[in-house]
Amino acid sequence: MSSPRESRLRTFGAKLRGFLSKYRHDDDFDDEIRQHLDLLTEKFVKQGMRREDAVVAARRQFGNTTLLQEDRRELQTLTSVEAWWLDLRYAVRTLWRNGAFAAVSIATLGLGIGAATAIFSVIDNVLLTPFPYKDARRIVFPRIHGAQQGQDDGRQGYTPTEVLEFAENNHVFDGTTAANEDLILYKHGGGTEQFEGADVTPGTFEFLGMPALHGRVLQPSDYEPGAPPVFVLRYKTWRERFNGDLSILNTTLVLNGTARTLVGIMPPRFGWYDAEVYIPEKLTRDATSGSFPSWFLVGRLKPGVSQQQAEADLTVIAKRLAKTYPQSYPAEFSVLVRQIGDTVIGRFEATLYTVLAAVGLLLLIACSNVANLMLARATTREKEFALRAALGAGRRRLVRLLMVESLVLAIAGAMLGIFVAWAGLKFLVATMPQDLIPTESVIELNAPVLAFMLCVAVLTALTFGLAPALQSSRRDLNDSLRDSGKGVSGGFRGRWLRDTVVVIEVALSLTLLIGAGLLMRSFVALREVNLGMRADHVFQTGLVLPAERYKTVQQVTNFIRPLLVRLKALPGVVDAAESSALPPSNYNETNVDIAGKTHLEEWPTTFQQVSEEYFRVLRIEFKQGRGFSEAEVNDARRVAVVNETFLRKYLSNEKPIGQRVRLASLETMPDPVHDGSFEIIGVVGDVTNRGLQTPIEPEVWLPYTINAAGPQVVIVHTSQDPGTMMHGVRQEVWNTDSGVALAFAGTLNDRINQRLYAGARFGFLLMTIFGCTGLILVMVGVYSLLAYSTTRKTHEIGIRMALGAKRGDVLGMVVRSGLRLVVVGIAIGVAISMALGRVIGTQLVGVSVYDPETLAATTLLLTLTAAIACWIPARRAARVDPVVALRYQ
């Protein structure tokens, strides 16, 4: 005997065959029927009927041939297309009439799918597959880690000799490559531009395994002595600096004074070493140990080799090198390796995974909301289905109708979800702080993830759309016709589950809202932090001076002085200054001594070399004394200005004017200053020099004319929009010396936004999006739960009202049953927020994790939202006419 399942399988197979060979069979079947009719007619004629009568009689006895054809088709084909089409039209019509239900379901699904996909796409592109290079997960870089050093410290740069030693003698890599940062000045007709260049060793492109987009990559012959000089360009640079002009391929450009041929343009995702221009360089062992360890070395671990094995192997080589070059190595050290990208991603990882968890929960909640909604709706339709069944609709037919309805919902939700994901991703990418992710990672919609999310959502809709159908179709018809559901609310288990979902929803959403609130307040606080300077109407740019022509102070000042005069004469310019750092950060550091003070510990300070206009241009306030005079700057007098932090920390608030401060590193840096002692002539208010979250460092300002070392920056105070200054400033720079290039040109406000606010803004926007999504989901969740339970309780409410309960009582009863859950959720949410406080605390400025205002505001917002969600079904319940409700039975 065949089991039912087996027989069903066979039937399916036969149907499939029938479906595939439909037309051939149709003819056969027609033949068979015609023959049967003929035979039947013959039989009747033999029995003595007239032929015409016999034909009619035969047809009558045979039955309706059309119906038979339809039966057969139903049996033979997988689905009946027309019936599906009818169901589809009917489903769309029904959903259209129940606009609110449809809209809420679709929005919930769309939000869930969209948010989850967008966030997961970011995580996948940033954390899981950030690099497009061959076997990128096995590419590691070694660092020399001294025993005394911090966990993340250690030298990562190597001399050519070291690179060759590691590359040739290791047993753990199946390939290595090294790169050296190389500032490239590109001289053309109008002036000079700067590129971030990288010198790369032979085999680099083979190692990375990426072909060129146009032209070719560097090949072994390019490294031969006497080979024509060539270079390869990064895609982004090609688009931005050369307008994507393909005709520049195979032309010759003057880079750092050498005419080089552009042989290749790399694909968009290629961004090795974050360089714009790649230049071949073959390493040779130095005769002396004197060269600077500037080469960044990476290797690809052989399959199966662990990081520990690599570290052990490389340490052996390094110990040998340490014997030859003892001054380059700490006394106690080991070599540690780390995957590329770890350092970039590390800072971001925790945030992203937190967000991922939140998103997963949101999707889950969205799905359970949809399930609740469908359940609520199915309850109200029990009668309709009973009627359909009574009128002869088969169970399969009912299920199909519901399935089509669920599918329409799911597909609409999915489409909305795709849109939300697309828009959300665009938004995320636009607000994401640039330096947080590797430049190679291109953030795009992740198709497999989207497919997964869509499946989850469609399955949810189908499952929960069908469950009630199966249930109601299995039910005794008379029961359902007589009454629509049990007198009291549904089974205990189901209710418990639904209640839990709502509580979790509320708790999670409140946690997110509190986080968003705190980050928002923190962001506002950040914006209010006094920078100590005025950032409006300021344009600034770094200047790259060709080193060979700018060795002495005299050479530098001979360029800067006329440049400042020209800049001041530009229309729209109020004032212009020279500086050795790009505000708002300054990383020039030195240790200081103060005459007459002895101290054991080091006294570090940042310092900056500026022209006399500097304090005016940035509108920095003097607290004591005065700024530099023109004469002092021109004569490179030994005078200094310090900030208040310096005064407080190192001068113990004594009278500062006239004190002498010695900057140790000035005496040892390139182009050393003979005597690094300066007389303090003024004190300014603190100016942000290390970002907003870290305290301000002590700072010393000196005349820029004291030496030629350090970066050159010009800062321009404008009366017009500083964003329009680029062209004019560049022209004046090139008019002064066409060999000088601009770097990091832009307005001070943009730079501040990018460096100081972008991270905070991103965090707060992210949390706000989640918080709001959560809020909407809570509303839907509470609403659908109450809508479901009140429909179930219609009869109970009727009895209560018949027994004298007032509308207000009913209203209160329903709202209370909803708010009870909300209160529990809020309690849990506040508890979670408190527990998570430490996580978010590090990102907060000027606001406490336990900020009562934020807590109160978000809780209130959530309660109000939930109350509205309670109110709608409650009002409906209160409107119940007791007579109708009782007749319901």
């Binding site: 005997m1 065949s2 027989s7 066979r10 039937t11 036969a14 149907k15 056969d28 079947f29 033949d31 068979e32 029927i33 023959q35 049967h36 035979l39 039947l40 006895q61 045979f62 039955g63 309706n64 041939t65 119906l67 038979l68 039966d71 057969r72 049996l75 033979q76 069944a389 009574a390 009128l391 002869g392 088969g394 169970r395 018809l477």
Partner: protein, 114 residues
């Protein structure tokens, strides 16, 4: 409403066709219809078209097979014959039927005695 009723009817017709094919060997649809008419002695009013639906269903379950051949009066006809699986199924169904009709018979007698 009459989901179950029609299911019973379908099953009955299937059973009759199976039995007919089992007893008389391969035959075409017209023959099956004649045989059932003959046996039921016109008690069972049957749309003969439904025989074909039933034949198709039985075919899909693998209980009978069909083959084109020549009929007694030299016309092309589709001959149906019962398969091994069909014979087994027939045994099971027959047993079921006898049990159920027995039960129903007893129940009906009970009703009569009251």
């Amino acid at each position: 409403m009459d989901i179950k009723k029609s299911e019973v009817l379908q099953g009955t017709l299937d059973l009759m066709i199976l039995k007919t094919l089992h007893a008389l060997g391969p035959m075409h649809g017209f023959g099956v219809a004649r045989r059932i008419e003959q046996v039921s002695r016109d008690i069972l009013q049957l749309n003969e078209g439904t025989v074909y639906t039933s034949l198709l269903r039985l075919q899909q379950r693998g209980w009978i097979t069909a083959e084109w051949g020549l009929s007694e009066n030299n016309r092309k006809a589709k001959f149906y014959s019962i398969t091994k699986r069909g014979q087994k199924q027939l045994e099971v169904e027959t047993e079921n039927w006898e049990r159920i009709s027995g039960v129903i018979g007893r129940v009906l007698r009970l009703e009569g005695e009251r």
